[in-house]
């Protein structure tokens, strides 16, 4: 056992000494490899954390949202609609909601306006999300005016800025009183945007949804579990530009490493012959190369993963920001709660460490079984 261990250390010594001979080239390769792992791991950690955070906080959203469709488009809920629902068994509470979008030409951003009961937001005042406040330079006590879609100017006093901790949810929110909302958008009295229903018994939610679509054929119920599923599958592995871009990088790296690992130079072949002639076994040569592959890929994996963790949870995934931000003006600043999925990490480990080690080993196999007497004639 001790002898075996010592032997492996010798092989590692040798492989490191060989790698050190082309320091810049090998360090460059290691770096490229680590960057690749870094981007993949960042993507993985970011989406995983976002997903688990969304799942946790959105578990508090309404059990059922009821939209009304007219001619294939989302339409307003007319008066009397809510009363019809009251007769459905299992529905504990139903509430007409008022919300809509507003385009602010000053910063070219879209806001989400949402009416709140008078006891939360007084008439003439608004509460705004922290991202919006930052974009417009608002603080509690400031006055801001919006020109409504009908062309009238409305001035509001900012009574509070929502907590920056909630930016991921409330970035672009403008909360205002119901009266202000209706006046601002000239929303017809008695109409609502949609209806939020609470269903006490989670087992009954699907039943309620079925009854709703039966009794209100022009309605479309959206269940909370569907909301949660939306965010479960958001940023799936298959999705996104990020992966498309990455695919190119992965391919480039695969070619690079294959080229480096599999294109055994004449020099390397000669060295293997020498090693065999001076008493190395074929298996020693192969194991030596295996250590090389494992050391490089393991180092790259660990480096890339640690850097990705720091990047995602301490630097707010800054690398992805330009992509996630898209054309949006308002981009929330948020710190995700660190979450690591062991299985995902294992998958990443397997797909980064294994192929490289294999790419190193395949060509060496052929070289290592050549006859050692070839070194006698050079």
């Amino acid at each position: 056992m001790n002898v075996w261990l010592e032997k492996q250390r010798h092989l590692i010594d040798f492989t490191l000494a060989s790698l050190a001979r082309r320091k810049t080239k090998n360090l460059g390769l290691l770096l490229a490899y680590a960057v690749l792992v870094f981007v993949l791991a960042s993507l993985m950690l970011f989406t995983q954390a976002l997903r688990s955070e969304a799942t946790f906080v959105l578990a508090g959203s309404p059990e059922v949202i009821l939209q009304r469709m007219v001619a294939g488009r989302h339409d307003l809920i007319p008066p009397g609609y809510i009363e019809k629902i009251g007769r459905i068994r299992g529905v504990q509470k139903q509430e007409g909601r008022l919300w809509g979008y507003y385009y602010d030409p000053v910063v070219n951003a879209n806001y989400t306006f949402m009416a709140r009961p008078a006891n939360e937001v007084a008439s003439g005042s608004i509460m705004v999300g922290a991202t919006l406040a930052r974009a417009r330079g608002l603080a509690a006590g400031n006055v801001i005016s919006f020109r409504s879609y009908s062309g009238k100017l409305f001035a509001f006093k900012v009574s509070a800025v929502l907590s920056p901790d909630s930016e991921l949810l409330s970035a672009d929110l403008v909360l205002l009183s119901e009266a202000d909302f209706r006046a601002f958008f000239e929303y017809p009295a008695g109409y609502f945007t949609d209806i939020a229903l609470s269903v006490a018994n989670p087992q009954e939610v699907r039943k309620v949804a079925e009854k709703l679509s039966a009794s209100l054929p022009d309605s479309r119920p959206i269940l909370r579990e569907e909301v949660l599923r939306t965010y479960q599958s958001v940023f799936d592995w298959r999705e996104g530009i990020m992966l498309t871009v990455l695919a190119g990088a992965i391919l480039a790296f695969a070619i690079l490493s294959w080229e480096k690992a599999s294109g055994l130079s004449a020099e390397e072949k000669r060295e293997i012959g020498i090693l065999k002639a001076i008493g190395w076994e074929t298996s020693d040569v192969i194991r030596m190369k295996m250590w090389e592959g494992m050391l490089i890929s393991l180092t790259a994996f660990l480096l890339g993963f640690i850097a990705a963790y720091v990047h995602v949870f301490y630097f707010g995934a800054a690398v992805f920001e330009p992509v996630l931000k898209g054309w949006a003006v308002l981009y929330p600043r948020f710190a995700l709660v660190p979450t690591v999925d062991g299985l995902q990490v294992a998958t990443l480990f397997f797909f980064t460490v294994f192929p490289y080690t294999a790419a190193v080993l395949v060509p060496i196999w052929r070289a290592a079984i050549t006859d050692p007497d070839s070194v006698m004639r050079a």
């Binding site: 092989l11 000494a17 001076i278 008493g279 074929t282």
Partner: protein, 224 residues
């Protein structure tokens, strides 16, 4: 110590370019002596050394080493015998570039699993004997031809083999360095090692350090 009987070696057997490099060699080599093989180019000297040194296997015939038939052993065992009992000095030195002299010297000790400190100590001692200590941490490509050869010799000695095999050891050396090499050879004899070498160089084959000269021609032994 080494007995060869009816050794034949063919290259590319069964193909159109089949070539018989050795045609029936019978030879007994004594332990503790320096034996030199002499012969024209292509006569099969190198081929014979590779057979004795377990670098390759004869097409037919037997190689006995210390009474044991080694011609039929699988590669793993051949490698082990080669590592333990033979040290090689190649004509081109065959050092690994980019590594230091001492790193090159300890390479044959790696598969044995001997602790590194022990290998380094042994290498330092050999360097001492070969008067090369001052160059031990130099990269081998910076060394002069004579220094490179002494590194190659040190590498052949690191596993303390009984037999040293040297193929054209002085081909790349000038007269002074060749003389120095012959002095080292005498040291081997004094240490009780068996030496097999090939050479065209009269300085080598006619030297007192060589106990026996064997002539070769067209894959057969001839009187020297």
């Amino acid at each position: 110590m080494i007995e060869l009987s009816q050794i034949k070696k063919a290259f590319n057997q069964g193909q159109s370019n089949e070539y018989w490099a050795l045609n029936g060699i019978d030879l007994t080599l004594e332990a503790g002596k320096v034996t030199a093989f002499r012969g024209p180019s292509g006569s099969g000297k190198t081929t014979l050394l590779t057979l004795v040194g377990c670098l390759s296997r004869p097409t037919s015939g037997r190689v006995r080493f210390k009474g044991e038939d080694i011609s039929g052993l699988p590669e793993r065992f051949l490698t082990e015998i080669r590592r333990q009992s033979f040290g090689f000095i190649f004509q081109q030195f065959n050092l690994i570039k980019g590594l230091t002299a001492i790193e090159n010297v300890i390479l044959p000790g790696f598969p044995t699993g001997r602790p590194r400190a022990e290998l380094i100590a042994a290498a330092e001692q050999i360097f001492e004997q070969l008067k090369l200590s001052h160059r031990r941490t130099a990269k081998v490509e910076w060394l002069s031809g004579g220094e490179q050869q002494r590194v190659a010799i040190a590498r052949a000695l690191i596993n303390n083999p009984e037999v040293i095999i040297a193929d054209e050891p002085t081909a790349n050396l000038d007269t002074a360095l060749s003389r120095e090499f012959m002095a080292i050879l005498e040291g081997f004899t004094a240490a009780g090692k068996t030496v097999l070498l090939t050479s065209h160089d009269p300085l080598v084959v006619e030297s007192d350090a060589v106990h026996r000269v064997i002539g070769m021609r067209d894959g057969c032994l001839v009187d020297a």
